[in-house]
């Protein structure tokens, strides 16, 4: 288990984060410059935080109160960087063997062959990095990081330099390494979908702070703030207040629409009656219905346009004040309906997918 709680101040930026990872994959998601890479470097021992504590499996790597700061080479932390950081002057095998050079020749060869096999690098052992494709280089970088048997694997935007086809493949392979690597993994990315697919928990970074750190489903259903929601690409915001909380359901009244919506009960522990909240829904979950019903809102079409395999719609809701509120929805072409601008219909917001955001 990795516990991190660190602070570091720089001119114009300060990092103040704390989280832990215990054998699962934690995705660190955030915009560029929010401190994600710095966090990884602090864990690896390449940057020294100003204060804090880093513990890995009951070994203290960094403790400012005791002036303890282990050097990177003894931390047993695996690091894979965005541009892979392969040694250009060494072959793939030699790259992988770099971290285990202190074993006997046969041990080294065994371990390298195992990793080459597992990472699908057969035949490429004697190639130099410049003779490998981006995906192959990535795999060598991962094999190299795993060779010494690290206790945590840190990956900084590992797939951002890959084309989408290779990316998909590499994501599968990453999940595949769970077969032989059981330690914790921290994956830094700015790509939400990737983070969601690969991680079990997410830490949302914003300007050097963690805005929310939780299981991904929980975050999706109850983002801690509007900013987090925006990062998750939740749209369709409506302001209101909590009107009812029970074990199985939570109700939010939307004054603008003069209606009550049933919302996700996932985050009900954080909610109190009459609490002001904003609700948000992914466009993907909004459905077009024929008639009225619970959680169905009357709206009229503004416009619709075709994408490659989906159709995007924008509707205006009828509000009490007369001010326009938009709802966007996306439907696969197979389910899409042709509507005329101005045409009225009901938009259904499935309760389980209505996120409740604290205002």
């Amino acid at each position: 288990m990795l516990e991190v709680k660190i602070k570091r101040a720089l001119p114009g930026f300060s990092l103040d984060v704390g989280f832990s990872v215990d054998g699962d994959i934690l995705g660190i998601l955030g915009p560029s410059g929010s401190g994600k890479t710095m966090t990884l470097k602090c864990i690896a021992g390449l940057i020294q935080p100003d204060e804090g504590l880093i513990k890995l499996n009951n070994r203290v790597l960094f403790d400012s109160s005791k002036s303890l700061n282990l050097s990177p080479q003894v931390r047993k932390v695996g690091l894979v960087l965005q541009n892979y950081g392969l040694f250009p002057h060494l072959t793939a095998s030699k790259n992988i063997a770099y971290g285990i050079r202190n074993s006997t020749r046969s041990e080294i060869n065994d371990r390298v062959s195992v990793l080459i096999e597992k990472m699908g690098l057969n035949g490429l052992e004697h190639r130099y990095p410049r003779q490998l494709s981006a995906g192959q280089q990535q795999r060598v970088a991962i094999a190299r990081a795993l060779a010494p048997g690290p206790e945590v694997l840190l990956m900084d935007e590992p797939f951002s330099a890959l084309d989408s086809v290779t990316k998909e493949q590499m994501e599968l392979e990453l999940l595949g390494i769970r077969d032989f690597y059981k330690g914790s993994i921290i994956l830094v990315t700015h790509n939400l979908a990737e983070a969601y697919r690969l991680s079990s928990r997410l830490a949302i970074y914003e300007s050097g702070r963690i805005a929310q750190c939780d299981h991904k489903e929980k975050i999706i259903c109850s983002p801690a703030s509007r900013k987090v929601a925006k990062m998750l690409k939740i749209r369709n915001y409506l302001d209101g207040f909590v009107s009812d909380i029970s074990d199985s359901s939570v109700w939010v009244t939307i004054p603008e629409l003069n209606t009550r919506l049933m919302v996700s009960a996932n985050g009900r522990n954080r909610l109190a009656a009459n609490q002001r909240v904003t609700i948000g829904v992914f466009p993907d979950y909004v459905r077009i219905e024929e008639g009225p019903g619970q959680n169905a809102l009357l709206s009229s079409l503004d416009y619709m346009n075709n994408s490659v395999s989906t159709v995007n719609y924008r509707f205006s809701l009828k509000t009490v004040s007369g001010r326009g509120v938009s709802i966007e929805t996306v439907l696969p072409k197979s389910e899409a309906r042709f509507l005329l601008p101005g045409q009225e219909c009901y938009l259904y917001l499935p309760p389980d997918h209505v996120a409740v955001i604290d205002s």
């Binding site: 950081g85 770099y98 971290g99």
Partner: protein, 228 residues
């Protein structure tokens, strides 16, 4: 024959010793400054590069004042019962001082070009700072270091002004090829001067050609095309 062999021997001894000293010092200094970003950096940098912009005679004078009888280093050495001025080590000292900036600057750019990320990753793979330096930084900086050594060789072979001031003209001991050429010209012995000049050109040319071969990376048979 002796008047050609002796300056040649002195020069070869001086240049080879200088190269060893300068390359080592240059690498160490360059390594330090490539990763040092303190406030004194421009100052230290300036001191290291200074001999490059000073006329060799000025360098020679400064060295003479430092290692001479009344200079700080000179007095230190006299405690050890040795004098540096007008001795063979003085040729190495002068040659080292004037060629050091070239080695330092070339090695430093080479080190600065080595990707910091690569060194960082090497650290996490269990390598201490010196091991990273030996196994990652140096091999990657090799072309730059060789270029620096070539410059050092050329500069120290041709070094005259500072050498003459600090080491003087003692045939067989401190008379290097350039000093010998100068004094032959002074004496009006043009033939001898030309022979010595030819020797210098020959040494320089063959050495540069050999070093050029060393620099081109060995191209293994291109069975695997590089992926663009």
């Amino acid at each position: 024959m002796n008047e050609y062999l002796t300056p040649l021997c002195v020069s070869l001894k001086t240049v080879s010793t200088t190269m060893v000293v300068t390359v080592i010092l240059g690498i160490l200094a360059a390594r330090w400054m490539a990763r040092y970003h303190g406030r004194l950096k421009p100052l230290i940098d300036g001191i290291f590069i200074l001999p490059l912009v000073l006329p060799p005679t000025v360098v020679g004078l400064v060295l003479l004042l430092t290692f001479g009888k009344n200079g700080p280093m000179g007095q230190l050495f006299s405690l050890l019962d040795t004098t540096v001025v007008f001795s063979w080590p003085a040729t190495v000292i002068s040659a080292t001082v004037v060629s050091f900036p070239l080695m330092y600057m070339t090695a430093r750019s080479a080190f600065e070009l080595v990707d910091r990320d690569i060194e960082d990753v090497a650290r996490t793979l269990g390598a201490g700072k010196w091991h990273v330096f030996r196994t990652v930084t140096l091999p990657l900086a090799r072309p730059g270091i060789i270029a620096g050594a070539v410059l050092c060789f050329a500069r120290s072979l041709g070094e005259f002004g500072a050498t003459l001031m600090l080491a003087g003209n003692i045939p067989g001991k401190t008379t290097t090829l350039p000093v010998a050429i100068y004094f032959e010209i002074q004496a009006g012995h043009m033939d001898q001067a030309l022979y010595l000049t030819a020797i210098v050109i020959f040494i320089s040319f063959t050495s540069l050609v050999c070093l050029a071969y060393l620099r081109t990376p060995r191209r293994k048979t291109k069975t695997v095309p590089e992926i663009v």
